[in-house]
């Protein structure tokens, strides 16, 4: 995850409390989504950014996951995300996200 985004996640967590944080990802690949999710739960796996060695355990979802998708107005979702849902491997992304949450999430 971008070092600047890591810094912002850390700052917001310190300001609002980890239990009040929800991270929504839009990565196009399961692996990239998994890395970002790991960064905000277990800590930065590349040990490069502000979240290196910092396990926040935040709630993290991909926008394709039903927990998030169901909160949208279906027309808005279709307009904004319908096309990407058609071309990306949604199942793989959802599985990856579930795995990371089960392994590292502290607010499930």
């Amino acid at each position: 995850m971008d070092l600047e985004n890591q810094r912002r996640v850390l700052e917001f967590t310190e300001e609002f409390g980890a239990e009040n944080m929800l991270i929504i990802l839009g990565a196009a690949e399961a692996e990239a989504a998994g890395l970002a999710a790991e960064t905000v739960t277990a800590g930065d796996p590349t040990y490069a950014g502000p979240l290196a060695g910092v396990s926040l355990g935040l709630q993290v979802f991909h926008v394709f996951e039903p927990e998030i998708k169901d909160q949208f107005d279906p027309d808005v979702y279709e307009e904004q995300l319908g096309m990407m849902e058609m071309v990306l491997d949604v199942d793989e992304i959802v599985d990856e996200m579930k795995g990371i949450r089960e392994q590292f999430g502290q607010f499930n």
Partner: protein, 510 residues
């Protein structure tokens, strides 16, 4: 009359030492974690020049292996070699690191680069025999200085080391004691960009036998900024590059929009040529050392060599219509507007279907789309996926939503209208323009009729806006002036016949 694309050139410089010393992934690691295992592994996971040259995507980049031939090779490519690989390509060439360091010295007109004496002698022959260099630059290597002097500059005056085969062979000095925009690091990156841009421009002129004096204007479109503390991005790379290549009749300016800049430059150049303001316009972009080894950690973790081990550059010439070369359809351009929004649908609509609708064309009427042609061999192991394929799927998905094709046709569409990526991940370099050379060839050989060049850029990285950017333009077969002239001459014939009949009739009545 639409303008034409007359030539394109691409260069690569194999820069293994710069991966470790100048790539930001590695320099960041050195700051954060100086004893890192990764940094120790880097030198053992770099490719030789021969491996770099024979790497199939690099052969495609310089024009020796067509995109379709590359596509026939199964991924991964890092363990494969292109047959008959050569550092000399149809559209460009591949340089060794020592020669590239020589070009950095040539690009320096303020005596900021010092090269060691013996090293200077070792590269003199290859540099000074280069015909395309203007005279003052060809002799700019000088005699070189002692290693002692170079090491003193590095140790005491903040100079940036130039390293070859693990040894210091020179340095780039700072151009000001306190100005951060003229420190050694910035000067080094700017000289790398200038040198690789100049190499691409010279290659363009040589490969297509273009007289440098014919060039009227140069648009540079890299991602660097040059200036001092009072004008950080003052410019002008374009004119500095034109000077190296001896384009004495040219001026120029720099165009910026992150990775979208080359396509912006292509469109701007087309407008300048078509209007006649500047009949011959070169677009040029040098490369970047910062991006070397960007995904190195993932490559090493997965047992691959570091595949981002070269600096790239490209150049292309846009001219007034000659009736022969492929035309740039300046009436079929796409633009991502401020109000477009960031959803993929909106982005693809603005860049792909909006210009097509203007020409009453369907998505399938474009034979080849050249999008962000990043090499998947580099990006897939880093978890970033296959970038061109993802783009083709999005274009196809829009086609499905517009009911121009069936959902089951998506896979076929990506093969037929897409290409595998081959360009090094040097930001602006992979964006749309890598196909210009092959597009010209494919169109002129009648293999395809129409291609679309699409450039996209991540403006938000500059923290001035959250917006994204993108532009596109269609290139197609030149219908030829002959046809037009034939129509005119038919009219003339009719007129002559009419006149003859009239005078015949007049003679009868007399």
């Amino acid at each position: 009359m639409f303008p034409v694309i007359k030539g394109a050139a691409y260069i690569l410089a194999h820069t293994p030492d710069m991966v470790l010393h100048n790539g930001t992934t590695q320099t960041t690691e050195r700051t954060v974690n100086p004893d890192s295992e990764y940094l120790k592994q880097v030198p053992n996971n770099l490719r030789s020049f021969e491996q770099f040259v024979s790497y199939p995507p690099n052969q495609t980049f310089i024009g020796n292996l067509s995109p379709s031939e590359l596509g026939e090779l199964d991924l991964p490519w890092y363990d494969k070699q292109a047959e008959g690989a050569s550092s000399d390509g149809k559209y460009g060439e591949i340089f060794q690191q020592d020669e590239f360091i020589g070009w950095i010295k040539l690009a320096d007109v303020f005596n900021l680069v010092s090269l060691e004496k013996d090293f200077t002698e070792s590269i003199r022959q290859s540099i000074e025999s280069r015909e395309g260099l203007s005279e003052s630059f060809r002799t700019a290597l000088g005699e070189g200085v002692s290693l002692e002097k170079i090491e003193k500059e590095i140790a005491e005056k903040g100079a940036e080391a130039l390293i070859h085969d693990g040894k210091t062979v020179g340095c780039v000095k700072r151009a000001h004691d306190i100005d951060p925009n003229l420190n050694a690091h910035v000067i080094f990156e700017n000289l790398v960009s200038k040198a690789s841009g100049a190499m691409a421009l010279i290659s363009l002129l040589e490969k297509h036998q273009i007289d440098p004096l014919d060039i009227d204007y140069v648009l540079e479109c890299s991602e660097e900024a040059c200036g001092d503390m009072n004008q950080r991005g003052g410019g002008n790379f374009a004119k500095a590059i034109a000077e190296v290549a001896g384009c004495k009749n040219a001026t120029g300016s720099d165009t910026r929009s992150f990775c979208a800049a080359p396509t912006h430059a292509l469109i701007n150049a087309s407008a300048l040529a078509q209007s006649g303001i500047y009949p011959n316009v070169v677009i040029v972009g040098g490369g970047s050392t910062a991006k070397l080894g960007m995904n190195g950690k993932d490559h090493i973790k997965k047992g691959l060599p570091i595949l981002e081990d070269g600096v790239a550059g490209f150049a292309a010439l846009i001219s007034q219509n000659d009736g022969v070369h492929p035309i740039l359809r300046t009436d079929l351009v796409g633009k991502h507007m401020v109000g477009t929004g960031s959803s993929p649908q909106a982005v693809i609509t603005s860049l792909i279907t909006a210009p097509l609708d203007r020409g009453n064309l369907k998505i399938t009427d474009i034979d080849k789309y050249s999008v962000e042609m990043q090499n998947p061999d580099v990006t897939k192991p880093a978890g970033a996926g296959d970038v061109p394929l993802a783009n083709y799927k999005m274009i196809a998905a829009l086609g499905v939503m517009r009911k121009e094709m069936e959902r089951t046709d998506i896979a076929d569409f990506t093969k037929k209208h897409g290409m595998v990526g081959w360009a090094p991940t040097q930001g602006h370099i992979p964006s749309g323009v890598p196909y210009l050379g092959f597009a010209m060839q494919d169109i002129m050989e009648g293999k395809i009729h129409r291609a679309m060049i699409v450039g996209k850029g991540s403006l938000f990285l500059g923290r001035l806006t959250n917006l994204f950017d993108g532009v596109s333009i269609v290139i197609e077969t030149n219908p030829g002036q002959v046809e037009e002239e034939a129509t005119v001459s038919k009219d003339e014939v009719r007129q002559m016949v009419a006149e003859a009949m009239r005078s015949f009739a007049a003679s009868l009545t007399e």
